[in-house]
Amino acid sequence: MSNQEILIKINHLFKIFGNNPNDALELVKKGIGKDELLEKSNAVLGLNNINLNINKGQIQVIMGLSGSGKSTLIRHLNRLIEPTSGEIVINDTNILDLSSKELVQFRQSHMSMVFQKFALFPHKTILQNVGYGLSIQGIAKDIWVEKSIKWINRVGLDGYENYFPGQLSGGMQQRVGLARALATDAEILLMDEAFSALDPLIRSEMQTILLDLQNELHKTIIFITHDLDEALKIGDRIAILRDGSMIQDSDPQNIIMNPIDDYVSDFIKDINRARVIQAKSIMTPTNTKSSGPVIPNNMVLEDILQIMSDAPTKPVTIENSKGKIVGKIEITNLIEGMKRPKSQGTNITG
C-alpha cells in the first residue's frame, strides 16, 4: 500500500456552521465538544480537524451515521461548501485558493458528482442530462452527443436517450446520474450516498456496475455511505466519521479486526464476519508450506471453513496473488477471527 500515489490531501479541515464561525473555531481548537459549542455560541460543528489522504485510483469510503458530517466533507472537495479553515490539496493545488472562475474550470475538468436523490434535470432528456457536463464546457454538440450515447449504453440504458428522468425508475435514474458523472472523464468521482435511496436488489446491482467500471477506469472515487456492507463491498479504504471528527481510517479488514473504539465496534457488530474477513487478516505469517491445502489470501472465512472442515487438524497454506507462500491458518485462528473483538485504545462511549 505504501507505493500508492496520494491524489487528495485534506489537512486540518474545520467547518463550523453559524453566525460567528471564526470565534467558534477558536473554541473548537481549544477542544470544546459539539454539544458544548452549540450551547455556548449557537454554532454547529460540521467538521472537526479532518486529516485524510486519498490515494489515486482507489475507492475511499467515508462512513458515519446521519449528522456525522460525511455529506459536508464530500461537498468541501468541490467547494459546494466553503470550509472555515484548513486546506484541500489536489494535484498540488490547494483548491481553496482558487478564484470563482478557476473553481468553475476545476469542477468542469477534475470532478464530477453523483447524488443521493439523483438530482437529474427534470426538464432535460436522458441524453441532455448525461451530456450536461460536456455541453456547458462549450464542446460541440455532435461530440457530446456521441460520448453521452456511449455512456448511456455503458450503464445499460440503450434506447432511453429521449426519455425524461421522471419517466424512469429510481434505479434507472441513478444509472443516468452515474453516466452523467462519468461522461466528463473527470478523474475524481464524488458519490454522496449514491445508492442509499435504492432498494437492496437494485443497490447491489449498482454496486456491481460501479466495481466493473472501476476495474476498467481506475478513477479516484470518494464514496459516502452509512451502510457498512456497502462500504466493505466496494471500499479500498474506509474512513469513519463521528460528530464531525475522523475516528478511524484504514483498510476494511483492519477496521473489522481492530476497531479503534466502541463507536466503531458498534458499527461492525452486526456484520456477518465469516463472509467479510479474509485469510490475510487472521493468518500466522510464515513462508513455509503447511500440511493442508493451499488457498489465496483473499478467501473469506466462510470458504476456508468449508475447506478445513474436511481435515480440521491440518493447517492451510496461504499464498498471495503472485503465488508466494505468506502464511498459514489453523482452526484456532478461525475461531479467533469469528470472535467479536473488543475495541482497543481508550474507551469512548457514544
Binding site: L80, M113, A119, P122, H123, I136, Q137, Y163, Q167, T184
Partner: protein, 295 residues
Amino acid sequence: MDWFFEFPEMERSGLRDFKKSIDFAFREFSRSYGENIENFFEPLLMFLVWFEKLFINTPWPIIIVSILLLAWFGSRSIPILIGTLVSFLIIGYFGMWEDTMSTLAIILVSTILCISIGIPTGIAMARSDRVQTIVVPILDVMQTIPSFVYLIPVVMLLGIGKVPGLIAVCIYAIPPVVRLTNLGIRLVDKAVLEAADSFGANYWQKLFGVQIPLALPTIFAGINQTIMMALAMVVIASMIGVKGLGLPVLRAVSNQYLALGLMNGLAIVVLAIIFDRVTQKFGLRMQEHRKEIKD
C-alpha cells in the same frame, strides 16, 4: 380628558398647508419635468399606436385567422378554437370589432411591457433577499392602492391619453408576473442546482439552463394573471383616454344604457376567457417532462 375622547389631531390650517405644499411641489415637478417624461414615453406611444392601427386596418378575416392560429399554437384544442371563432364573429356582428381591436392592442403592449420589466425584476428578487425585501412592499402597495389614487399623479404628469392609461394598466397588472417569477425560481430544487454547480456551470448557465426553464410553468401562471388583470383595468383606463371596449362601458354607466354596457362588458369577459384558456393550456404543455411513463 378631552384628548381621551377626541383624537388630538393636527391643526386644520397646518394640515391644509401641508397638503398644499405637497400639491405645489408635485405641480412644480410636473411643470419642469413633465415634458421630458412625456418624451421619454414617446417610443412607447408610437409602438402602441402602430399596433392599434395594425389591428384596426388589417381586414377582419386575416385577424381572425391569425388569432385562431395563435390559439391553436397555444392550446392545441379544438373546443377552444371553436369558442374563439364564434366569440369573435359575434363581437364583430354586434359592432364592437374596432373597440375590441383597440383593447387587444393595449392589452398586448401592456403585457409585453409587464413581462419585459416584471421577469427581470422577479429574477433579481429571487437572487437576492435584500432586493426581495425592498420589492415585496412596493408590490403590495401597487396591488392594494385604489387605482384612482395613482391615476391622479399620472394624469398630472402626462395628461390624458394612451400612455398614462398604459402606465396605469401596468401598475395594476405587473405584480403577479414579478411575484410568480420570484417564486418559481426560488422553488427550483436546491439539489438540482447543486448538481449544476458540481459540473461547473457558471451563473448564466444556471440561470438560463436550469432555473428559468424549471420555473417557466410558474412564470407562465404569472403572465396569465397579468393578462387577466390588464383586461380588468380597461374600463378604468378608458377614464383617462384609452380607447377600446372600456369607453362604451363608461358611457353606459353614466347614461344608464343597459344593453351597451352589458354587450361591451361581456366582450371583455369573452376576451379574458379566451386569453386565460389559451395561456393556461400553453403553460400545461410546457410541463411535458412531468408526465409519467405511459407505455
